[in-house]
Subunit: 421 residues, 2 copies
Amino acid sequence: MKFSTYSYTKSREAFARAFRVIPSGIYGHQGPSEGCYVPNDAFPLFSSRAKGSHFWDLDGNDYIDYMCAYGPNVLGYGDEDVDAAALEQLKKEDCVTIPSSIMVDFAELLVDTVASADWAFFAKNGTDVTTLAVLTARAATQRKKIVLFNGYYHGAAPWAQKLDYPGILEEEVKNNLYVEFNDYPALEKLFNDHKGEIAGLIAQPYLQANFRDNLLPDEGYWQKVRKLCDDHGVVLVIDDVRAGFRLDLAGSDHYFGFKADLICFCKALANGYNVSALCGRESLKDVVSSITYTGSYWMSAVPFAAGIACIKKLKALNAPKLFEELGAKLMDGFKAAAANNGFHLVVSGPASLFYLRLADDNSLMIHQQWIAECVKRGIFLTSHHNHFINAALTDEDINRSIEIAEDAFHALKKNGIVPGA
Amino acid sequence: MKFSTYSYTKSREAFARAFRVIPSGIYGHQGPSEGCYVPNDAFPLFSSRAKGSHFWDLDGNDYIDYMCAYGPNVLGYGDEDVDAAALEQLKKEDCVTIPSSIMVDFAELLVDTVASADWAFFAKNGTDVTTLAVLTARAATQRKKIVLFNGYYHGAAPWAQKLDYPGILEEEVKNNLYVEFNDYPALEKLFNDHKGEIAGLIAQPYLQANFRDNLLPDEGYWQKVRKLCDDHGVVLVIDDVRAGFRLDLAGSDHYFGFKADLICFCKALANGYNVSALCGRESLKDVVSSITYTGSYWMSAVPFAAGIACIKKLKALNAPKLFEELGAKLMDGFKAAAANNGFHLVVSGPASLFYLRLADDNSLMIHQQWIAECVKRGIFLTSHHNHFINAALTDEDINRSIEIAEDAFHALKKNGIVPGA
């Protein structure tokens, strides 16, 4: 093996402390109870430092990071331009009784940048804005039902969870209707079966499910869906929390050639500073205004300053093109590394948000083992979630990542793990 | 008149811009559509700078601020110790793929500080943690119903809204039961009428309603409620988002001599840095662990560093006692200023979170006019919401505030406004 493997002594010690005072120790998508971190002992659990495309764990191990904080790291950790703008704002004010007018500057920038945005409403979580979108669709139509695509993720609010999840009531999800993405006849039938009952359709711009190849829209699919929503008076909501500003700075709906009524942003909006945004069309602005919706930190000024600096830098870099190129180069290298060793790596989704799966591995165990060998050698990937490219990735990072991926395949072979086993 | 009155030209210009690109221009509790900002034209709309106990609006007008960003400003704006801790952390890392172990340090500090806390779960909004508390109560009991006190506010999630609010479905609030605070027989009857159906009771530690005098618990009330919850297997949730760390660093339940099962914190937790926390008893930790609940920024390190510095400084200052003393001095001055001019000012709630109402004014118009005259002279109050004391308030601030309050009563008299009119 060319690369030595990491150990996680300090991470494990910190996790033992965490487990005593935090439910699960680390919860949610960053925690070891999440299905993406298997085999569990291959992954570090706490970080100590992050810069550019790298982070270092508590044991000092260095990772080229392809999870990017599950999205927020879009320009690189500790981006100097974004941090400088944030610190300049912090010297003046952050969370104050009445907002800073920098909120207006940020809203104007989003309206200028995002094709389907006539206005912007700011909050903190992706969940805050997907929920506001659903309330808006209901209030605008005076209808109850929301259509979602199987494999959806729209945040952690009860309405967006599943009936068998702890604490969720039947009442909270009974107005959800589910259908397969890209199956237009099924969607059309659903709309006809529930004529006059559907308030909104909420969807990611392409299928970004976990444990499943990501799926781009078929040619003409979104255009037909757009027309169907218009014909039925249904509010079309694009949840661009994950792909927003990575595929297209004008919105992922723009990337796929249609216009959403409402579009939700969060992760890539401010390079890790805490802000989310619902944008939408003029015709829905009064409805949004009528909804009771607020939070203690929602008008904090520092994240707005960071967001302005982030979007401007993404524009200056023509970042979506850069992400696509970096992602494509990495994926070519990963696929070749697999093929060189007799494996078949299936890559799905856009290259800038690549999803990985090893073919001929129905148990998923070989795939998980390969990911684990990669992580232990210094590239942070997860097994069953899409990944993220950031603008600080260098050619050296990518070349080293490909070498590590290849070394990880060698490790599989050395351990007698072969495709189709 | 001793004090000249402010004008808001630049605030109004910025609001005209805001109104074009943001629903309502400014939404929620910070916006002019909120009932607390009447008469509307007496209030500035945008801030430009904040430091200590003051902020300055876009026209450069200086305010002694008694809203404290609706709570988060607890040590004073731009507190140097909190900002230094935040900046030191920012140099290392903030929002990363795996959390910083400073999350564990913060959880340990809360467990050491808060009497009813055996663990802490971090999120971003107060709403995030009140909702998690409700999900936990349901999951722990396998029951559906939640008891709330009339005049409650537990955030902006659909379950915490009212049926006649736009976008809210009957299904989302049908499992809520409502009862009057301090009416123990009514609560006992409600529990008996719904035996075996009630998952949780969620309550602020005293009644903090808007448009209504705040109401402290009757002697022995909480102790009887605690026992009733135990007898019926109901999870007792204290929503300490508003009063938390202002009344008692060990929790407002501790202040009133009982122990909650779950307690929700947000506003005062990190002096404006963006974090909230659900704390609770060991017996509910596994249930919380089972719930699907996460957000993109929930493990960002900078707010944890700020929170640690904030709690430590609140302890060093013995802040709740300081807030009580500062608030009491201010309230004595305000009441005397009213009496000197033939008005009767009714103060309710704890002095550190004082609520104001002028007596003999059923229309509320005289009260609103007095508040407006105060604001236009440089003390930021609102008409029908409780206020907040922060640790940066000086004796000079308080003396000046009392002088302004008196001058505002003079202005009322000069305009022929008299009590009981």
